[in-house]
C-alpha cells in the first residue's frame, strides 16, 4: 500500500485493527454482549418490526465490536460513530413522543461527544505525527496542547459514560429502548467510554490537580446518579442511573490513569475489571428485568431470585464480579497520595450504599410493574442465562493481574465485611424509610429519566424537524425608491426643457471659457 504521509489516511488500507492486550477483554465482552442481546432482541421483536430494528442494530453492533480492535485514529472514530449514531434508531424504535425526545437528546450529546473526540484525535495525531493510537497516546503527552487534549477526551468520555451533569443520557437511552437493544447499549456501548480511557487518555501529561479533579467528578457521579436513580419510577431508568453511578467509579480509575505510569497500569486493570463486571452484570439485569416482567407465578419468583446475582454484583458483595472490580479500583487509588485520593479511597465503600439502594428500588419497581404489550413470544431465557453465567465467573477466571489481589483476599473476613456492610446499611435505611411514608410518596418519581437533559429538548425543539418557516417579508424600501424615482424623473424633465437647455449651453460655454482663461 502506497503511503503518502504519517497523518494521511490512505484508503481502506489505512484502517488498522489489532487484537492487542487491551483489545482482548473488550473484544470478548462486546462481541458476547452484542450477540446475546441481539438474540434476545430478535426473539422479542415482532417479525414486521425486525427489519426496522436490526437496520440500526447491526451497524451499531459492527461498530461496537470493531471499536475494541481499532488500532488507529480513523478506524477508532469510524467504529465509535458507527456504534453511536445508529443507536438513535434503537432508542426511538417505539416511535413514541418520549422516545423521540430521548433520541434527540441522545443524538445531540453523542454528536457533541464525537466532535470533542475528533478534535482530540486530530490534535493527538499531529502531536504524535502518527495515526496509530498507541503512538498518538504517547505523542499527546508531549504535545503543547496536552491539557486541551485531555480536556477534550474527558468531555467526550463523560458524555459517553454519563458523568455528571450528563448522567441523564444513560436512563434516556435505556428507558424507551427494547430490552435486547437496551442490554447492548447498557452492557457494551457505554463501556466504549472505558475503552477510550485506556486507549486514549495519556499518562503523565497533566498535573496532579487534574487527577484529583477527575477522581472527584467520578465520586460525585457515583453518589449523585444513585440518588437520582432511586427517585425515578421505571426499572430501566433505575438501571440507567445505576450505570451512570458505576461509570462514575470507572471515571475515578480514569483519573488515576492520568497520573504517573505505575498508577496508570493499575488503573487500567481496574477499568478493564469494571468494564467486564459492569457490562455483564448490567446486561444481565436489563435482560432479566424483561424476563421477570413477562413471567408469572413461580417463574417470576425464580427470575427475581436469579436477578439478585447481578444486583449483588453491582453492590460488590463477596464472591461476585463487583468484589473483584472494587478491589482492583481500591488498589489503584491506594497507590496515590494526597488529600483527594485519600478522601476518595475513604469514601469509596459508601458508594456501595447508593448502589444497594438502587438495587432495592429496582426490585420494588419490577414487582410493581405490570406487563405491558404482549410480546410475540415470551422473552427467551437462554441469552439471559448465558450472561448470568458469564457474570458469575468471568472476572474470577480472567487471566490477568487485576483480579489476583481480589482472589487472594476473598476469604479474609476483613474484606468480606468491607464488601457486605454497605448493603446492610442500605437495607436498614430502606426499612427506616417506611416510617415516613408521606415523604417517600412525595419523593417517588421526583426525577424523570434524563433529569436536567430533558430541558435540552426545549432548546432542541427550536431546531427540530418542524421549524417555523422563515419567510422574507416584502421589501419595505419600494416606497422610498418610488419617491426617489419621481424626484429624479422630474429633474430630468426640467433639464430637457428648451429654456433650461439653452441656459445650460450658455452656462457650459461660460464655464469652459472661464476655465480656459484661468
Amino acid at each position: 500500500m502506497d503511503t503518502i504521509g504519517s497523518l494521511i489516511p490512505t484508503g481502506m488500507g489505512a484502517l488498522r485493527f489489532a487484537v492487542d492486550d487491551i483489545a482482548v477483554p473488550f473484544l470478548a465482552l462486546f462481541a458476547f454482549l452484542w450477540l446475546v442481546s441481539g438474540a434476545h432482541a430478535w426473539a422479542t421483536t415482532p417479525a414486521r418490526e425486525r427489519g426496522r430494528l436490526f437496520a440500526y442494530y447491526v451497524p451499531s453492533a459492527i461498530g461496537g465490536v470493531g471499536v475494541a480492535v481499532a488500532a488507529d485514529a480513523i478506524s477508532f472514530y469510524l467504529c465509535f460513530a458507527l456504534m453511536a449514531l445508529p443507536a438513535w434508531g434503537l432508542i426511538t424504535h417505539t416511535r413514541s413522543a418520549e422516545s423521540r425526545r430521548a433520541g434527540a437528546v441522545y443524538l445531540t450529546l453523542t454528536v457533541i461527544g464525537e466532535a470533542l473526540l475528533l478534535a482530540a484525535l486530530v490534535l493527538m495525531a499531529t502531536g504524535g505525527d502518527s495515526l496509530l493510537l498507541s503512538e498518538m497516546r504517547a505523542g499527546a503527552a508531549a504535545s503543547p496542547h496536552a491539557a486541551l487534549i485531555v480536556a477534550l477526551l474527558l468531555g467526550s468520555i463523560s458524555l459517553k459514560i454519563g458523568a455528571l451533569p450528563f448522567s441523564g443520557i444513560l436512563p434516556l437511552s435505556y428507558t424507551y429502548t427494547p430490552a435486547g437493544a437496551a442490554s447492548a447499549l447498557a452492557g457494551a456501548s457505554v463501556k466504549v467510554g472505558a475503552l477510550a480511557m485506556i486507549r486514549l487518555l495519556p499518562a503523565d501529561a497533566v498535573g496532579a490537580d487534574w487527577v484529583s479533579a477527575v477522581m472527584l467528578l467520578g465520586l460525585i457521579t457515583a453518589f449523585g446518579a444513585a440518588v437520582m436513580g432511586v427517585l425515578t419510577t421505571t426499572p430501566r431508568a433505575v438501571l440507567g442511573y445505576s450505570s451512570a453511578s458505576q461509570m462514575g467509579l470507572v471515571l475515578i480509575a480514569g483519573g488515576v490513569s492520568l497520573g504517573d505510569a505505575g498508577a496508570t497500569a493499575l488503573a487500567h486493570g481496574a477499568i478493564v475489571a469494571f468494564a467486564l463486571h459492569h457490562g455483564l452484570a448490567k446486561s444481565a439485569l436489563v435482560l432479566g428485568a424483561d424476563v421477570a416482567a413477562h413471567a408469572k407465578g413461580r417463574e417470576r419468583t425464580v427470575a427475581l431470585c436469579a436477578l439478585a446475582l447481578p444486583a449483588l454484583a453491582l453492590v460488590g458483595a463477596p464472591f461476585t464480579s463487583g468484589f473483584v472490580a472494587k478491589y482492583a479500583l481500591k488498589d489503584a487509588i491506594h497507590l496515590l497520595h494526597g488529600p483527594v485520593p485519600e478522601a476518595v479511597y475513604a469514601l469509596l465503600p459508601l458508594t456501595a450504599i447508593g448502589t444497594a439502594a438502587l438495587m432495592l428500588r429496582l426490585f420494588v419497581l419490577i414487582r410493581r410493574e405490570t406487563v405491558g404489550d404482549p410480546l410475540p413470544a415470551r422473552p427467551p431465557v437462554a441469552p439471559w442465562a448465558l450472561v448470568l453465567a458469564a457474570t458469575a465467573i468471568a472476572t474470577w477466571v480472567w487471566p490477568a493481574e487485576w483480579n489476583r489481589h481480589a482472589i487472594e483476599s476473598v476469604v479474609s473476613p476483613d474484606s468480606l465485611w468491607t464488601a457486605t456492610w454497605p448493603a446492610l446499611v442500605a437495607i436498614a435505611g430502606w426499612q427506616a424509610m417506611r416510617l415516613i411514608p408521606a415523604v417517600v410518596r412525595r419523593l417517588d418519581g421526583v426525577v424523570v429519566p434524563g433529569d436536567v437533559l430533558v430541558g435540552l429538548t426545549a432548546l432542541l425543539g427550536r431546531f427540530d424537524d418542524h421549524p417555523r418557516s422563515t419567510q422574507v417579508a416584502a421589501t419595505p424600501t419600494s416606497a422610498r425608491v418610488e419617491r426617489l424615482r419621481t424626484v429624479l424623473t422630474a429633474t430630468e424633465g426640467r433639464l430637457l426643457a428648451w429654456t433650461t437647455a439653452s441656459t445650460i449651453l450658455v452656462l457650459l460655454a461660460v464655464v469652459l471659457v472661464t476655465l480656459a482663461l484661468s
Partner: protein
C-alpha cells in the same frame, strides 16, 4: 491548443444547443451528452499527463502587455474534472427533471456555457484570465437562476446579479491594480509576487479586493446573501450552482489567490491570511446554526453550502500544507456530497411535490433508494468516516492542528456536529410514517434516480479510496505540494 478543449467543447455544445432550438430534443440531448463524455475523456487524459508532469499552456494576446491563457496544471484540472464529469451526470438528471419543462434549449445551452466558464476559471493561468472567466460565469448563470421566470425567480436573479457583479467589480479593481504594479503574474505555486514584495499596503488592499470578489461566489459572510434566494432555480441548476460550478469558482479563486498568487508565505507575513480565516470560521458557525432552522429543504442545503464552502476558505487561509490540501480535496468531495443532496431535493419535489422538511414523513418509504443516497451524502457531509467528507475534514483539521491553530480544529469539529444537527432531522422526518405509500413501480424517473445513486456511490468511493493515487485527496496533496516548496506529507 488541447488546453482549451475543456473550455471550448462545452461552449460549442452550448452554442449548438441554442441553435438547435426548442423542438429538436433528441439532437439536443445527444449533443450535450456526447459533449460531456468527450470533454470528460479529454480532461481525464490531461490529468494523466499532468500527473506525469506534462502541463499544456496556451495563450492568446489580448490587451497591451496582457495575454489570455489557460494551463492544465493539476490544481486546475481537479476543479475542471469535477465540473466536467458532474456536468455529464447532471445532464442525465436534468433531462429527466426537465422532461416537461419549457425553454429547454435555453436551459441546456446556458448550462453548457456555465460549465465552459467554470472550466475556464479552473484552468486560467493568470488572475486576468481567471477574472474574465469568472465574470462570464456570473453572466451565464443568470438565465439559469431566473429560468422559471416567476417574480420570485426574477427577484432572486436580481439579487444574484447585484452580488455577483459587485464582487466582479471589486475583483476587476484588484486585478487591474495588481497588473499595474506587477505586470503579468501567472499563477505560480508558492506565489508570483516576488517582484513587488515590498509594497505591503498595496498588496494588502489588492488581497482584500480580490477576496471580496471571490468571496461573493464563495458565499463568505457577509457576501452570501444571494445564495439562499437563488434556490428558486430548477434543481439541476441548484446542483450546479451550489455544488459544482459557481460557488466552487469562488473558493477556487481563493485557493489560487492564496497559494499561487500571493503564496502562503507572503499571505502570512502580510497578515492577510488570519482575518480571512477568522471570517471563514465565523461563516461556518453562523450559517450552520441558521441551517438548523430552515424548513425549506433547499434553503437548509443552501446554508449548509455556505458553511462547507468556508471549510475550504478556512483551510486555505490557514496556510498550512495539510489544510490547504484538505481544502482542495474538500472542493471535490463537497461537490459530490452536495450534488447528491440537491438531486434528492429536486427528485423529491418533482415526484412528490415535497419541498419542506416538515412535509417529508413517508418519503423514505416511498423513495428508499433516493433517501439512502441522501443519507450517505448527509453523513459524509457531517464527516463520518469512511465517507468522502471525513477524509477532507481530517486533512483540514489535522492541518489546522499542525499549524497550531487549535481554534480552527474546534471550528471544524463543531460544524461537523452542527451538520449532523441540520441533516439528521431531514432523515428522521423522512423516516416517520407519513401519507406517501410505498411506490408500486419505480420510485422516480430512472433518469433522476440513477444519477443520484451514482453520485452517492462516488461519495463513498472518494472516502474509501482517500489517499490512494488518483483519489481527490491524493490529487489535492500532489497539486498543493509545490506551493509549499515541495512539501511532502
Amino acid at each position: 491548443m488541447i488546453a482549451w478543449v475543456p473550455v471550448a467543447v462545452p461552449a460549442l455544445v452550448g452554442l449548438i444547443t441554442l441553435m438547435l432550438g426548442e423542438t429538436r430534443g433528441r439532437a439536443r440531448n445527444a449533443v450535450n451528452l456526447l459533449g460531456a463524455i468527450g470533454s470528460s475523456a479529454v480532461v481525464v487524459s490531461l490529468v494523466r499527463s499532468a500527473y506525469a508532469g506534462d502541463t499544456f499552456t496556451s495563450r492568446i494576446p489580448m490587451l497591451p502587455g496582457l495575454t489570455f491563457g489557460v494551463s492544465t496544471d493539476l490544481l486546475g484540472l481537479l476543479f475542471s474534472a469535477v465540473a466536467t464529469v458532474l456536468w455529464g451526470v447532471t445532464l442525465v438528471y436534468a433531462i429527466g427533471y426537465m422532461d416537461h419543462a419549457r425553454d429547454r434549449a435555453r436551459f441546456f445551452g446556458f448550462f453548457a456555457w456555465c460549465i465552459s466558464a467554470a472550466n475556464g476559471v479552473a484552468l486560467a493561468e493568470d488572475p486576468i484570465s481567471l477574472f474574465i472567466f469568472y465574470e462570464v460565469l456570473s453572466l451565464t448563470t443568470y438565465p439559469l437562476v431566473v429560468h422559471n421566470g416567476t417574480p420570485e425567480a426574477l427577484a432572486a436573479g436580481r439579487k444574484y446579479l447585484f452580488y455577483a457583479l459587485g464582487g466582479g467589480a471589486a475583483l476587476l479593481v484588484g486585478v487591474a491594480w495588481l497588473a499595474s504594479i506587477a505586470g503579468p503574474t501567472p499563477f505560480t505555486p508558492g506565489g508570483a509576487l516576488g517582484a513587488v514584495a515590498g509594497r505591503n499596503n498595496e498588496l494588502r488592499a489588492i488581497f482584500a479586493l480580490m477576496v471580496a470578489g471571490f468571496g461573493v461566489k464563495a458565499a463568505l459572510m457577509p457576501l452570501h446573501g444571494w445564495l439562499p434566494g437563488a434556490m428558486v432555480a430548477p434543481a439541476p441548476v441548484s446542483s450546479l450552482l451550489h455544488a459544482v460550478a459557481v460557488v466552487k469558482a469562488g473558493v477556487f479563486g481563493i485557493i489560487r489567490l492564496v497559494n499561487e498568487l500571493y503564496g502562503p508565505e507572503l499571505a502570512t507575513s502580510l497578515g492577510v491570511a488570519t482575518p480571512l480565516a477568522l471570517l471563514a470560521a465565523a461563516t461556518i458557525l453562523i450559517s450552520s446554526v441558521i441551517a438548523l432552522r430552515q424548513d425549506d429543504l433547499k434553503r437548509r442545503l443552501a446554508y449548509s453550502t455556505i458553511a462547507q464552502l468556508s471549510y475550504i476558505t478556512l483551510g486555505t487561509a490557514l496556510c498550512s500544507p495539510l489544510a490547504a490540501a484538505g481544502a482542495v480535496a474538500h472542493l471535490a468531495h463537497h461537490a459530490v456530497m452536495k450534488i447528491t443532496m440537491f438531486f434528492t431535493a429536486g427528485s423529491v419535489y418533482e415526484t412528490l411535490h415535497v419541498k419542506k422538511v416538515s412535509q417529508m414523513p413517508g418519503v423514505a418509504r416511498r423513495m428508499p433508494l433516493t433517501m439512502i443516497s441522501f443519507a450517505v451524502a448527509a453523513f459524509a457531509l457531517a464527516g463520518i468516516p469512511p465517507l468522502a467528507g471525513f477524509a477532507s475534514k481530517w486533512l483540514l483539521a489535522a492541518g489546522a492542528a499542525e499549524d497550531g491553530s487549535v481554534w480552527a480544529v474546534l471550528v471544524y469539529v463543531t460544524s461537523g456536529a452542527l451538520a449532523i444537527g441540520y441533516m439528521v432531522p431531514v432523515l428522521t422526518s423522512a423516516l416517520r410514517p407519513g401519507k406517501h405509500a410505498p411506490a408500486a413501480g419505480p420510485e422516480s424517473d430512472p433518469r433522476m434516480l440513477w444519477p443520484i445513486v451514482a453520485v452517492a456511490v462516488l461519495t463513498v468511493v472518494f472516502g474509501l479510496t482517500a489517499g490512494l493515487p488518483g483519489s481527490p485527496t491524493h490529487w489535492a496533496i500532489t497539486a498543493i505540494a509545490p506551493s509549499f516548496g515541495g512539501w511532502t506529507p
